[in-house]
C-alpha cells in the first residue's frame, strides 16, 4: 500500500505543471552556480601560481643585507580550495597570503578586494541557491500535500480504505521527495559534467568523497525542508494558510535566525576590532624596542666612556669582551618580554574571539540552513576549519622563519644619554634557497565531520522533529 501511495504522489507531481518548472529552475540554477564559481576558481588558481612563482624568486634572492635593513617580507600563499566551486564560504574573505617579517606576520589582501565590484549583485554559489531557492520550492511542493487533498476532498476517500494514516503520511513524504530529488540529481550530475568540461579536477585524492558528501548532505537538506513543509501543511486546513506559514518559516530560517545568533553573540561577548589589536601590538613593540635601545645605550656609555673613539672598534679589547654578553643579555630579555607580552595579547584576543564565535555558531545552527552552510563549507575547505588551520600554519611558519632566517641577523639600536643614536649589526650566513615552504595541512574528511557534529545533529533533529510533529498532527487531523 505504501508503495502505491509513493507511486501516486510521484506520478501526480510529475504530471503537474510545477514539475517541469522546478526541473527548469534546477537545471538552470545549479550548473550556473557551479560554472560561475569554476571560472572564478580558475582565475584564482592562475593568480596563485603566478604569485607563488614571483614570491619564490624573490625569496631565493634574499641577501643578508636585506635582512639587516629590515626590508625582508616573505609571503606565504594559501592555495585556493578547488571545492569552492560548490560554496564560497570564507574563500574570498580570507587573506590570500600572509606576509612574514621579523616583527611578526600580517595578513595580505583578500581575494574579494579587487573584484568585489562585480560581486555586488550577490553570489550564486551552489549552496546559496540550494539554501535560498530550492529550500523554498521544497516547502512549496509540500505545502498542499495534505491541505490540498483535504480541500479537494480526496483525502476522505483515501482514508476510507484500509490505509493507516502513518503509511499515508510516509508514502506522501517518500513520493513527494522523490519527485523533488530526481530533478535535483539530474541538475547535480549536469553541473558535474559542466565542471569536468571546464577541466576541473573532480577526481582528486579525496575530492570524489567530498563531492559525494556534498551531494548527500544537500539531499538530506532538501528532505528536511520538505518535511518541515509537510508539518506546516498538516497543521493548517487551507492551502493558502500553509503558504503564508511557509514563507514565515523560510524567512526565519534563512534570514533571521542565522543573524540573530551573530547579533546575540556580539552583545554577550563583545570583541575589539582587529585593527585596534594590531595597533596595540605595534605600540607595545615600539615601546619595548625604545626601552631596549635606551638601556643598550646606557650600558654602552658606561663601558666605553673612557675608551678613545678610534679604539672602540677593536673586537678583542677588554671592553668589547665585556660588552658582548651584556648586549646579548639585554636583547634576550627584551625578546622574551616581547614574545610573552605579545603572546598574552594574542591569546586574550583569540580567546575573546573564540568565545564569541562559539556562541554565534551554537545559536545559528538552530537554523538548518546555517547548519547546512557551515557543514558544506567545511567539507569544501572554505569554512571555519580552514580558517583556523590557516592561522595555525601561519603561526608555525613564522616560528620556522624566525629560526631559519630572521634570527640570523641581530640589529643593535642604541640611544645614548645625550640623545645620539647608533646602529650595529652582527650576522650569520643564510641560505635563502633552503627556507621552509609555507603550506596548510588540510583537515581530513573524518576530522571535518567530527568538527561539524553540531551541524549534523541540527539537520537530523530538523528532519525527525517535523516528521514526528506532522505525524502527531495528522493522526488527529479532522478530514471532514
Amino acid at each position: 500500500m505504501w508503495k502505491t501511495i509513493v507511486k501516486k504522489e510521484l506520478l501526480e507531481t510529475i504530471f503537474s505543471y510545477r514539475f517541469p518548472l522546478f526541473a527548469v529552475i534546477c537545471l538552470l540554477l545549479v550548473p550556473l552556480g557551479m560554472a560561475v564559481n569554476e571560472a572564478a576558481y580558475a582565475k584564482r588558481v592562475r593568480d596563485y601560481s603566478d604569485q607563488v612563482r614571483l614570491a619564490d624568486e624573490a625569496a631565493a634572492a634574499i641577501k643578508i643585507q636585506d635582512i639587516m635593513a629590515g626590508t625582508v617580507a616573505i609571503r606565504g600563499f594559501r592555495r585556493p580550495a578547488p571545492l569552492s566551486v560548490f560554496t564560497q564560504g570564507f574563500e574570498s574573505t580570507l587573506p590570500r597570503y600572509y606576509e612574514f617579517t621579523q616583527d611578526g606576520f600580517k595578513p595580505g589582501e583578500s581575494a574579494s578586494d579587487d573584484e568585489s565590484i562585480l560581486s555586488v549583485q550577490g553570489k550564486v554559489d551552489f549552496v546559496f541557491l540550494v539554501q535560498m531557492v530550492i529550500s523554498l520550492i521544497a516547502m512549496l511542493f509540500a505545502s498542499d500535500m495534505i491541505s490540498g487533498e483535504k480541500e479537494s476532498g480526496t483525502l476522505r476517500a483515501m482514508l476510507a480504505n484500509s490505509l493507516p494514516r502513518d503509511a499515508l503520511l510516509a508514502g506522501k513524504i517518500g513520493g513527494g521527495f522523490l519527485a523533488l530529488w530526481a530533478p535535483f540529481l539530474l541538475a547535480f550530475l549536469f553541473g558535474a559534467v559542466v565542471l569536468m568540461l571546464g577541466a576541473f579536477p573532480l577526481t582528486g585524492s579525496d575530492t570524489a568523497a567530498r563531492v559525494l558528501i556534498v551531494f548527500l548532505a544537500t539531499s538530506l537538506f532538501i528532505l528536511t525542508y520538505f518535511t518541515i513543509g509537510i508539518a506546516v501543511s498538516t497543521s493548517t486546513s487551507k492551502a493558502r494558510t500553509s503558504l503564508v506559514g511557509i514563507l514565515i518559516v523560510w524567512a526565519a530560517f534563512q534570514l533571521i535566525v542565522p543573524r540573530l545568533g551573530d547579533m546575540v553573540a556580539r552583545l554577550v561577548h563583545p570583541v575589539r576590532t582587529e585593527t585596534e589589536v594590531s595597533l596595540q601590538k605595534a605600540l607595545l613593540v615600539r615601546s619595548l624596542d625604545m626601552e631596549q635601545a635606551k638601556e643598550l645605550g646606557r650600558q654602552w656609555d658606561l663601558i666605553f666612556a673612557s675608551v678613545p673613539p678610534e679604539a672602540r672598534d677593536k673586537p678583542d679589547s677588554p671592553e668589547n669582551k665585556k660588552w658582548g654578553p651584556i648586549r646579548d643579555d639585554i636583547q634576550l630579555r627584551t625578546r622574551e618580554r616581547k614574545s610573552q607580552q605579545l603572546g598574552a595579547i594574542d591569546e586574550t584576543y583569540a580567546q575573546e574571539k573564540r568565545r564569541q564565535l562559539n556562541l554565534a555558531v551554537n545559536l545559528s545552527v538552530v537554523s538548518p540552513s546555517a547548519a547546512f552552510a557551515r557543514l558544506i563549507a567545511d567539507v569544501c575547505g572554505t569554512g571555519e576549519l580552514e580558517r583556523a588551520r590557516y592561522l595555525e600554519a601561519v603561526r608555525s611558519h613564522q616560528k620556522a622563519l624566525d629560526n631559519e632566517l630572521f634570527s640570523k641577523v641581530k640589529r643593535t639600536l642604541m640611544i645614548h644619554e645625550g640623545g645620539g643614536m647608533s646602529l650595529g649589526f652582527s650576522a650569520q650566513p643564510v641560505d635563502a634557497s633552503k627556507l621552509p615552504k609555507f603550506s596548510i595541512t588540510p583537515a581530513t574528511v573524518a576530522e571535518t565531520l567530527k568538527a561539524n557534529a553540531r551541524s549534523l545533529v541540527s539537520l537530523l533533529v530538523w528532519l525527525v522533529a517535523p516528521f514526528a510533529f506532522a505525524y502527531a498532527k495528522f493522526i488527529k487531523y479532522d478530514v471532514r
Binding site: L21, K43, E109, S116, M132, V244, A251, R266, E274, A370
Partner: protein, 416 residues
C-alpha cells in the same frame, strides 16, 4: 467606484491573519537588518577612529557612510585606507569589520530585505487577487455591478499597494528615527533626501512585483498555479539574471588579471632600481619614472575594467532587482560609480602631492606635512546623469508595462 474596491481590499487585508503575519515579518526583518547593519557601521566608525591619519600624513581615508546601513554596496572596499608612497598608491585593509557570519550569508542590509524578501511578500499580496475571487465566485458578483474591469483592477492594485506600502514606510521610518539617537549617524538633509529616494525606488520595485503577481493571477485559473509560476519568475529576476550579466560580460571583455599587473609593476621597479644602482643618477628621477609607469598601467587596467563593469551593468539591468540595487547604492554613495570616483580622486590626490613627497624623501625629510585628502561625494544630479535616472525610468516603465499586461489579461479573463 475604484476607491470602493480599494477600500474593500484594504479592509479585507486588515481583517486577515495573513496581513498580521506579514506585518510581523516585515517588522522583524527591517528591525533585525537595521540593528545588525548599525552595529556593523559602528564598528567601522570605531576602526576609523583608529586608522584615521594624523594631520599632514599622505593617507586618504574616507569616513564611514551612514547610508551604508541601508545600502551597504561597496562600502567595505571604499573605506580602506589609501597610503600615498613614492611609487604610487598602496591600499591597506583598513576598516574591515572582521565579521563572522556575513561570509556565509550576504550582508543583510535594508536593500537586501527589500530585494529578496519583501518582493516575495509583494507577490504574496498579488498572486491570488483574481484567481481566488473567481474560485470563490465573488468575481462574478463584483463584475455584475456597474463597474468596469479597469476600475476593479485599479482598485485592487491601489488597495493592496497601500496595505503593503503604508506599514513598510512606517516601519522603515521608525527604524530610521531610532538610528538618529546614535550621534555617529549624521543624517544631514542631503542624506535624508537620498534616503527618501531609496525608499521611493523600493516602493517602485515592490509595486512592480505586486503588478507581476496580479498579472500572473490574471493569466492562471488557479491560485496554486500562479504561486509556482511566480516563484519561478522571482528566482529568475532576483538571483539568476543579475549574475548572468556579469558572466556574459566576462566573455566579451578581457581584463588583465590584477596579478599580471603587479608583476609588471615589480619589473618596472627592479629595472629602475638596477638603473639607479648601475648609473647612479638622480634617485628622485627614478622614483618619478616608476610612479609614472605605474599610473599608466593602472589607467589601462582601469579603462578595461570599467568597460567590463559597464557592460555587465547594462545586461544586468534586465532584472529589476539589479536596477534597484545599482540605483539605490549609487544614491546612497556606496555604488560602483562612487567607488571609481573615489579611486580617481585618490589618484588625483597622489598626483598633487607626489612631487613634494619624492623631493622630501630624497632629502631625507621624515616629518614633512602634506595637504589633506578631501572626499567629495558626487552630488545627486551627477549620480542621476550617470545612470541612476535610467534605472529609475526603467523601473517605472516596467511597472507600467506589467500593469498594462495585467489589464490586458484581466480584460480577457473568463470569470466563470
Amino acid at each position: 467606484m475604484t476607491w470602493t474596491v480599494a477600500r474593500k481590499e484594504i479592509v479585507s487585508n486588515l481583517l486577515s491573519y495573513k496581513f498580521a503575519i506579514v506585518l510581523l515579518l516585515m517588522v522583524l526583518l527591517v528591525a533585525t537588518s537595521l540593528f545588525i547593519m548599525h552595529r556593523d557601521f559602528s564598528q567601522r566608525v570605531a576602526d576609523y577612529q583608529v586608522i584615521r591619519p594624523e594631520p599632514g600624513a599622505p593617507i586618504a581615508v574616507v569616513t564611514p557612510n551612514p547610508l551604508s546601513i541601508f545600502a551597504k554596496g561597496l562600502e567595505n572596499a571604499m573605506t580602506r585606507s589609501f597610503e600615498i608612497g613614492v611609487t604610487g598608491v598602496e591600499v591597506r585593509a583598513g576598516q574591515t569589520s572582521g565579521n563572522i557570519v556575513y561570509a556565509f550569508f550576504p550582508a543583510p542590509d535594508f536593500l537586501y530585505v527589500v530585494r529578496v524578501v519583501l518582493s516575495l511578500v509583494a507577490l504574496l499580496f498579488g498572486f491570488d487577487q483574481i484567481s481566488r475571487e473567481r474560485e470563490q465566485g465573488t468575481l462574478k458578483l463584483l463584475l455584475g455591478g456597474p463597474i468596469s474591469r479597469a476600475q476593479v483592477l485599479a482598485g485592487k492594485w491601489i488597495g493592496n499597494f497601500l496595505s503593503l506600502a503604508v506599514p513598510f514606510l512606517l516601519v522603515t521610518l521608525l527604524g530610521a528615527t531610532l538610528l538618529l539617537f546614535d550621534p555617529n549617524v549624521r543624517l544631514t538633509p542631503d542624506r535624508i533626501g537620498r534616503l527618501g529616494l531609496i525608499l521611493f525606488l523600493s516602493l517602485l520595485y515592490l509595486a512592480l512585483f505586486l503588478s507581476l503577481g496580479m498579472l500572473v493571477s490574471a493569466l492562471t485559473r488557479r491560485a496554486a498555479t500562479s504561486v509556482i509560476v511566480l516563484l519561478f519568475v522571482w528566482a529568475l529576476l532576483v538571483f539568476v539574471l543579475p549574475n548572468l550579466g556579469t558572466l556574459a560580460a566576462r566573455r566579451f571583455v578581457r581584463v588583465p588579471s590584477v596579478r599580471a599587473l603587479s608583476e609588471k609593476r615589480e619589473q618596472t621597479w627592479t629595472r629602475e632600481v638596477l638603473l639607479g644602482i648601475g648609473k647612479g643618477g638622480d634617485w628622485a628621477e627614478h622614483m618619478r619614472t616608476i610612479s609614472r609607469e605605474n599610473d599608466r598601467m593602472e589607467e589601462d587596467y582601469r579603462l578595461k575594467f570599467d568597460r567590463l563593469v559597464r557592460l555587465s551593468r547594462t545586461i544586468n539591468r534586465l532584472s529589476p532587482a539589479a536596477s534597484l540595487l545599482d540605483a539605490a547604492t549609487e544614491i546612497a554613495g556606496t555604488g560602483i560609480g562612487e567607488e571609481s570616483r573615489l579611486k580617481a580622486d585618490v589618484v588625483r590626490y597622489k598626483n598633487s602631492i607626489i612631487d613634494p613627497l619624492i623631493a622630501d624623501q630624497a632629502a631625507g625629510k621624515r616629518d614633512a606635512r602634506y595637504q589633506a585628502f578631501v572626499d567629495r561625494p558626487r552630488p545627486l544630479a551627477e549620480i542621476f546623469a550617470a545612470g541612476a535616472l535610467v534605472d529609475l525610468a526603467w523601473l517605472a516603465i516596467l511597472n507600467i508595462l506589467v500593469f498594462g499586461l495585467a489589464y490586458a489579461g484581466f480584460v480577457r479573463y473568463d470569470v466563470r
